[in-house]
Symmetry: C2
Subunit: 206 residues, 2 copies
């Protein structure tokens, strides 16, 4: 497995927790190593720089999240119900995070987009790829619902971007108020964005 | 006018620019003073701490933005057209910022919410007040449109929060892609969230 080791994983896990709690800029390599319980020399054996570590954290977090998104959005359930499940699982994940950390940390990708995307080109590009992929996965479901005549949108890609934007915006509010309640609006707002006639109708198939 | 002075304003202006470009955590007081052309002693004459400065930057930025939002949202135009104008002026402001800085910096309030709201209680509270006020201003317009039978929403407050969430989410994408194009979806998505029957109808009155 090449250069993988226990120390490498410890550094990545510690970095992800610290970035979720305090952002990227506020962190130093020494603090990450201390939290990981790994000597500083190990850090530079595995990572060229803090930026390289951040890219790895993004990749690993997206690999996990993409697995969840694929399981949900590529399932055999009705298309709109898959979107509903995506929001419900997102809310459950934020609830777990709140229990563990005492505060809602929000979306790692959204956080780093607003903190870093206008400063660090490599991180901007990686975040673009991740959000492109997220929007593409939602777009495929919207296109399927459109073929089935369940939604009324002109451009599935734009509709999907509106849905992911709504998700990021409500997660921002959840973090701001340290409350899950903004996430409760995601499903109804998704149906509205997709111009589904009545929320009740779409919910019946649940 | 109490303790106001040229130096104080210089510090606030420099801090706002630096925070928009690089976030809060990455900045030091020395750098802010250097950029403002003000000796470091002056800083602590006007501000107790970097946090106190950040609160002042938020207050001043919101005072300016609230003036714009009031001018637009309290005008005599049709309610939905006021929302449209809000999005158009937001896009124009991001365009100006992009021209000046070479990159879209996004929304100062959204940026600091994701960077800091789970770390610094005073900043979290201030940002809550600002977003409460924004949602309240949009809510008043939605309630007016509801009374006129122009929109179909169950809860104007929740609808308003959905609209501001969509705005923050699309501004996040604008920053991520350094592109204004995500902001072009705001008006159509707002109409969808408000369950306005057809975008064309609402646009006729423009």
């Amino acid at each position: 497995m090449g250069r993988t080791s226990d120390a490498r994983e410890k550094i990545i896990t510690a970095a992800q927790s610290l970035i979720e709690l305090r952002g990227y800029s506020a962190l130093g390599v020494a603090e990450i190593c201390k939290s990981a319980g790994v000597p500083k020399g190990s850090f530079y054996y595995f990572f060229e720089s803090k930026e390289a570590l951040a890219l790895t954290v993004l990749d690993e977090h997206w690999a996990d999240e993409r697995r969840d998104w694929s399981r949900i959005l590529d399932s055999d359930a009705e298309p709109l119900q898959r979107l509903r499940q995506l929001f419900e699982e997102n809310e459950a994940a934020q609830r777990d995070g709140q229990k563990t950390c005492g505060t809602i940390s929000g979306c790692l990708f959204g956080n780093l987009t607003l903190e870093l995307s206008n400063q660090t080109e490599s991180i901007r590009r990686r975040l673009q790829e991740i959000f492109d992929a997220q929007v593409g996965m939602v777009e495929a479901v919207v296109a399927e619902a459109l073929r089935r005549g369940e939604v009324d949108v002109a451009d599935p890609r734009e509709a999907a971007q509106g849905i992911v934007a709504q998700l990021e915006g409500q997660v921002l509010f959840a973090k701001l108020y340290n409350s899950l309640s903004p996430l409760g609006a995601l499903w109804a707002n998704c149906l509205a964005l997709l111009r589904v006639r009545a929320p009740q109708e779409a919910a019946v198939g649940a």
